[in-house]
């Protein structure tokens, strides 16, 4: 009652809402500093990834100097164990690591959300089947399961992407199913059924728009986790294969330097950490907006 009154007064005063762009701009104007930092970080990474060949001083796999050369004017961050320029590899690594993570997350997103929605909308044995399969997959520690599958199917980028996508889609399945369940019981879904709408229509047009906010937030979170999983797998030697530059494997390849007090091998790890922080700032802000809308 109380909330309703408030909403009514607000809508009366505001009149018809602006267009989508205008609303986005209004949110952006009110965004907190942390969100701006997040946006800046993500944009910077995207720029680096897209413009890698133009920014990098040397080629990705080009041997340009001696092994483990220290930081110098020519090699700003030194060279790695094969004499490749560290900075260039970091820049190319952004491209490889981010694109693999993005691809993986997108597949996981479509798969998990689609099945989660289907399970929630149809219910019954379909829901039971999907949910139990997901339970089984989630019962096995993710990294170990990924290692197992990678050694069975072999380590290629395609396998890596598909395996992590399937494993990660279980999380998205659970989130989308539970939020969709809250929506399926609402009257407008029943009203759509009463007008003879099919399951796909109800899933995509009636339910999906109403659960998009928490799912997109989850997408951001999953992106970070996928990133870390790939890095971890690469560190263990089962991820992205050499000579492709990848932040996870770069840490491992140069790990020896840590013994000599050189921080260079920590730079790719730092790159991962920074991006994770940036994405999370944006996700936090997004969650804040959507929770504000619900009020």
């Amino acid at each position: 009652m109380i909330a309703e009154e408030k909403v009514m007064t607000i809508s009366k005063v505001e009149g018809p809402a602006g267009t989508r762009q205008r609303r986005l701009w209004r949110h952006l104007k009110k965004a907190p500093l942390s969100a701006w930092i997040g946006i800046a970080i993500v944009l910077a990474y995207m720029a680096v990834a897209l413009l890698a060949p133009w920014i990098a001083p040397h080629g990705e796999t080009e041997v340009v100097g001696g092994q483990y050369d220290p930081w110098s004017d020519e090699f700003l961050l030194g060279t790695d164990q094969l004499g490749r320029d560290m900075l260039s590899r970091l820049i190319y690594g952004a491209r490889n690591t981010i694109s693999v993570a993005l691809m993986t997350t997108s597949i996981a997103f479509v798969l998990g959300t689609g099945l989660g929605l289907l399970a929630a909308t149809v219910g019954g044995w379909v829901d039971q089947l999907f949910s139990r399969v997901v339970d089984v997959i989630m019962a096995i520690p993710q990294l170990i399961f990924a290692l197992l599958l990678l050694s069975i199917f072999g380590t290629s980028v395609v396998n890596l992407v598909l395996i992590i996508a399937v494993l990660d889609s279980t999380r998205l399945f659970r989130v989308s199913r539970s939020v969709a369940l809250n929506v399926t019981v609402l009257d407008f879904v029943e009203a759509a059924r009463l007008q003879g709408e099919g399951t796909i229509w109800i899933m995509v047009r009636e339910i999906l728009p109403n659960i998009l906010a928490p799912i997109i937030a989850e997408f951001g979170m999953r992106f970070c986790f996928v990133f870390l999983t790939i890095a971890a797998l690469s560190f263990l030697g089962l991820g992205i294969q050499p000579p492709t530059a990848d932040w996870g494997s770069m840490v491992r390849e140069n790990a020896t330097l840590i013994n000599y007090g050189d921080i260079t091998p920590l730079l790719p790890a730092g790159a991962i950490a920074l991006l994770t922080i940036g994405v999370n700032f944006i996700v936090d802000w997004f969650l804040h907006i959507t929770s504000g809308l619900k009020e």
């Binding site: 505001e14 009463l194 003879g196």
Partner: protein, 553 residues
């Protein structure tokens, strides 16, 4: 705290030119625009108005509280001479609970489910520094007794979920009384309750005021209810006082045009007409949940074409289950449903698309019945495209036609449901049902979530549509005024059975079945003498005891 001088003869509460602003986005808008009133000891003031009129805001402000997002910009609220607007939070906290108490709308949501009732009822006294477990306990049990709650000794040991809504509301009143406050605010205490339960709560409130001599502010949108408890009524609209008068005068001779229009709502009366062939025929229908839990028992019902059948009963009587069984959402276990001469498959899934079209349903709450992420235009266009194959210009025209049928401006087409008022939303729901050109519409409490004037508009609209296109309605409701306004045939349900049915003229006049009598006599009338009269009658007949015993089980 400095003890202000307070003269016993002056009003207990003085509100002077109170102005409150609410925040939306970045700007402040005035929601209470200079309201003034006085309240004496032992007096009950009724605040009525539509939602958004500022009733609750004023109610809370009169104990010196403003909700987050609101602020008092000017004016005074003086309780016993203390100005609550300028008082410090610490001083106000000393008064809250002890001198000033608040009874919220939904008792079920206001109690903490994890604690026993007695602990929660003692809490205000403990907070205000009273000690002595035994003493406090006895006092609360005494209050339970006074409020004629069943088994007052044992009741406090129960948890909130173990009581009915009406009992909880009375326990909450007991909690508010535990420090013997001088002023009580009741914020729609009976809105969420059934009529048969509402009467107990009203009796309790009346008794409290009489016995303890407290002053009270009673907030509601129901005129009949407020006329039972209030000595004086203030009608509010858009945060302003429209009219203020003693209850009897307000009822017999309202002055402002707005007040008169509020009063007129209760007087809609449809001419009964039953000369028509049945369009829907239910024979020996049993239905319920799962495979075993039976809710409806041997329902026999014929719905005449182009007429309205009203289904009445308290919550839990199976009204909504009946609607869902007819729709096929909760398929009947046994029996037959005949629609327009042919037997309907019992389950919705087995019915053809054409049948889906011919029977439609309108829901109680328009907030949840419209997808918040779709614009009005999309909501109305879709059934036209799907069922009637309309597209382009033809569809656009039909959408505009539908909007004018439900008396809405086409300007609203590009809005989202959240940008519409409650009445507008319900009209969109009606338009959506009409879009597929149905012959039967089941209306499930369609007006109970709306304000009275808005509800009247919706009822008139439904009546007009019936006259124009001859739609048949099954109207589920618990409001007597609505029944009178719209029905030709009345069905009274209790515990999944039809206890009585017949033409309106027959059911509305005695003699009638005992349950029908109880239900109808529980529906408040716009007459201040109604409550004592009904209570007296029931006491002598011994019905009241049976009812409350039934409720508490």
């Amino acid at each position: 705290m400095r003890k202000p001088v307070f003269d016993e003869a002056s009003p207990l509460l003085e509100v002077r030119d109170l102005r409150i602003e609410g925040q939306s986005d970045d700007s402040w808008h005035e929601i209470v625009k200079g309201v003034s009133f006085d309240l004496k000891r032992g007096e009950v003031l009724g605040l009525i108005g539509e939602s958004g009129a500022g009733k609750s805001t004023i109610g809370l402000a009169s104990i010196g509280y403003v909700r987050p997002g609101c602020r008092i910009t000017s004016g005074q609220v003086r309780y016993k001479g203390i100005d609550l607007v300028s008082a410090k939070d610490r001083d106000k906290r000393a008064l809250w609970g002890a001198e000033l108490a608040y009874v919220a709308q939904s008792a079920a949501a206001a109690f903490n489910p994890a604690h026993r009732l007695i602990e929660q009822c003692q809490e205000p006294a403990v907070i205000h520094g009273e000690r002595g477990e035994k003493k406090l306990r006895d006092r609360v049990i005494g209050l339970f007794q006074k409020l004629s709650l069943p088994q007052p000794e044992a009741l406090g040991e129960r948890y909130p979920h173990q009581l009915s809504g009406g009992q909880l509301q009375r326990v909450m009143t007991a909690m508010a009384m535990s420090c013997h406050p001088g002023l009580l605010i009741f914020d729609e205490p009976t809105t969420a309750l059934d009529v048969t339960t509402q009467i107990e709560v009203l009796a309790t409130i009346q008794q409290i005021v009489r016995e303890f001599g407290v002053a009270a502010i009673y907030i509601t949108h129901d005129l009949a209810v407020v006329s039972q408890v209030a000595d004086r009524i203030i009608v509010l609209r858009y945060g302003e006082v429209v009219e203020e008068a003693p209850t009897t005068k307000m009822l017999s001779a309202p002055e402002a045009a707005y007040t008169k229009s509020l009063w007129a709502v209760r007087k809609l009366d449809k001419q009964e007409d039953l000369a028509a062939k049945p369009i829907l025929h239910l024979r020996d229908v049993d239905a319920g949940y799962g495979n075993s839990i039976k809710i409806l028992d041997k329902i026999n019902l014929a719905v005449p074409r182009g007429r309205t059948v009203a289904v009445v009963g308290e919550s839990g009587s199976g009204k909504s289950t009946l609607a869902r069984t007819i729709m096929g959402l909760q398929p009947a276990f046994a029996g037959t449903i005949e629609f327009d001469g042919m037997e309907l498959p019992l389950a919705f899934k087995q019915r053809s698309g054409l049948l889906h079209r011919r029977i439609q349903m309108i829901y109680q709450s328009p907030d949840t019945a419209l997808n918040p992420r779709r614009r009005v235009r999309d909501i109305l266009s879709r059934p036209l495209q799907r069922h009637l194959g309309l597209s382009g210009e033809a569809r656009r025209q039909r959408v505009a036609e539908l909007m004018s049928m439900v008396e809405l401006n086409t300007r609203l087409l590009d809005r989202f449901p959240s940008e519409l008022s409650g009445g507008e939303k319900q009209r969109v729901c009606i338009a959506r049902a009409l879009a597929v050109e149905p012959e039967l519409i089941i209306c499930d409490e369609v007006t109970s979530a709306l304000d009275q004037i808005v509800a009247e508009g919706v009822l008139k609209l439904l009546l007009r549509l019936q006259q124009q296109i001859g739609i048949t309605y099954i109207f589920i409701t618990h409001d007597l005024a609505t029944v009178r306004a719209i029905s030709d045939w009345i069905v009274v349900m209790h515990r999944g059975e039809i206890v009585e049915q017949g033409p309106k003229s027959q059911i509305m006049t005695p003699p009638r079945h005992a349950y029908t009598e109880l239900l109808f006599s529980s529906m408040p009338e716009m007459d201040p003498t109604w409550l004592p009269r009904v209570l007296r009658e029931r006491q002598s007949a011994g019905i009241a005891q049976n009812v409350s015993a039934e409720m508490s089980m």
